[in-house]
Amino acid sequence: MPLFSGLGLVKLFGRVVAVDRVDLTIEPGEIVGLIGPNGAGKSTLVNLITGLEHPTEGRLEFAGHALAGLPPPVIARLGIARTFQIAQPFRNMTVRQNVAVPALFRADPAPDVRAALRDADVVLDTVGLGPKRDLPARALTTPDLRRLELAKALALHPRLMLLDEVMAGLTPAEVDQAMSLLREVHARGIALLVIEHVLRAVMGLCRRVIVLHHGRKIAEGAPAQVTADAAVIQAYLGARSLPSTP
């Protein structure tokens, strides 16, 4: 049985079809890539899964629970964590306090603040933010903010993590670091849905890739197979080959 399944998902904003009859399943411990040009509906799909938006049509199921109509905190406590495309730190709290928040409010919460802060320290060492734990989050650089997003998601103890463009704007070296970090996360048995423009990362991490275009799923399969797909090439370039990314 899949860990997560979305069937026939439709999201309308007025007369705009943001997501159009999309099916999506994720097996336990799997890494699935989700790619597509800007405005393809990728972030809307993540919002549907995490309860920030409600689907106009379709069914969402996670580990035997129907997600339709559940508020975001309940979905989070079921074990779905996400990062935001634009980092959403608690700016005036320290890095450590930021990560203590999910530790205090997940399904198996830390018993008290002290324990939550200890949990946070462990997670921060994993993502490499240990030395910056006492800085206010507003003082972090963009790559560090991405690490913080990831640390907060990890501290929720999720079974599925939705990563909304965690690599956008990173240098090639930083992308490599992020990829090895995601492999480490995956090795803990957490399933990942990786939404990326950085195709190198998607191709390197995922066995299965889904391509969205104008809200519709236009291809699904192994990375090599998908990148050779005529419809995908057409969607990205209107030309013959996929862009080679840094």
Partner: protein, 322 residues
């Protein structure tokens, strides 16, 4: 700073704290009635500011209806003492409780709103209660209500001091407990808080009810102190506004900020009022503008991050010219 330095500072802090506590306790024995009254007034505004800080500072919800709960506390205390001959302590307790209960009910509606909408709605609620009090029989309507006269004024000093200590303790404890983390996360970014497992409404209601309970306490003590209450004096938005200004001045989201704000501004206010009533209004209006523009997180924050108010003003003016 070295660990040894930290210990010295913590020790010094504790000594100052203990000295302040002892001084506050024996103050009525040392000072004349005028100064005891003055101190009681300062404590009252310290209490209001600390209460507002729970919802406005820690939670980031700009409440303007705090005086609604001050009125509820005042009228409950008054009605119970006058009509049921309840002792003051019990009447005050009932007033605090009723204020908190009403806050839970109103909060579960109003706290779904954000930003300006919340501010306006709470102000509306205050005006509704003021009209209600002016038109009910049990409150004595527009002609107000007289309370029994206490035997000694010092009573109020200690009641107000006790309530203030409670309020400051709440502000001190909040950032150290689970609820405080929820409130801070909600203040900083409610959407991000939700996807990390926080259901915002119950936590906001806790902060709002705490704020209401303390405003209620201030109202009850105020009513017995002044022995006369009527709708415009207790359901008075000026109480809320002063609490807001003092909190912003001292530093919202800190335990000491609201008290520091109350002590400084109330003392200034007393000095200025003695000189000119008009001038003191102008001063406070201008102060609000300056604070909101240049120091939205309090004077303490400026001192910590940018050096001085003057430099902050210069930086702000320089930036806006670009």
């Amino acid at each position: 700073m070295t660990a040894g330095g930290g210990r010295v500072w913590a020790g010094a802090g504790r000594a100052v704290f203990a000295a302040t506590a002892v001084f506050a306790l024996i103050f009525p024995l040392l000072a004349g009635t005028y100064y005891v009254r003055l101190a009681t007034g300062i404590y009252m505004f310290g209490l209001l500011a600390s209460a507002w800080n729970l919802i406005g500072g820690y939670t980031g919800y700009p409440d303007f209806g705090g005086a609604a709960y001050l009125g509820i506390g005042a009228y409950t205390t008054g009605i119970l003492m006058v009509r049921a001959h309840t002792p003051f302590g019990a009447a005050l307790g009932a007033g605090c409780l009723l204020a908190a209960v009403v806050a839970v009910l109103m909060g579960s509606l109003l706290l779904r709103l954000r930003g300006h909408y919340f501010a306006i709605a709470t102000l509306g609620f205050l005006l509704v209660l003021q009209q209600l009090a002016a038109n009910l029989d049990i409150t004595g309507g527009g002609s107000g209500m007289n309370l029994p006269v206490a035997s000694t004024f010092t009573t109020f000093y200690y009641w107000m001091l006790g309530a203030l200590v409670l309020a400051v303790a709440a502000g001190w404890a909040l950032p150290r407990v689970r609820v405080g983390y929820a409130l801070a996360a909600i203040r900083e970014n409610q959407d991000a808080a939700q996807v990390l497992g926080i259901t915002p409404l119950p936590f906001k209601i806790i902060a709002y009810a705490g704020n209401a309970l303390l405003f209620g306490a201030a109202g009850g003590i105020y009513a017995y102190w002044f022995t006369f209450i009527d709708p415009p004096t207790v359901f008075n938005v000026d109480f809320t506004i002063q609490a807001v200004v003092m909190t912003l001045f001292g530093g919202p989201g800190t335990a000491a900020g609201p008290v520091v704000g109350a002590v400084i501004l109330k003392s200034l206010d007393t000095v200025l009022t003695n000189r000119s009533v008009f001038f003191h209004n102008i001063f406070f209006g201008a102060l609000v503008c300056v604070l909101v523009i240049f120091a939205p997180r309090g004077v303490a924050e400026i001192a910590r991050t940018r050096g001085s108010l003057l430099r902050a003003v210069r930086a702000e003016l320089g930036a806006s010219r670009l």
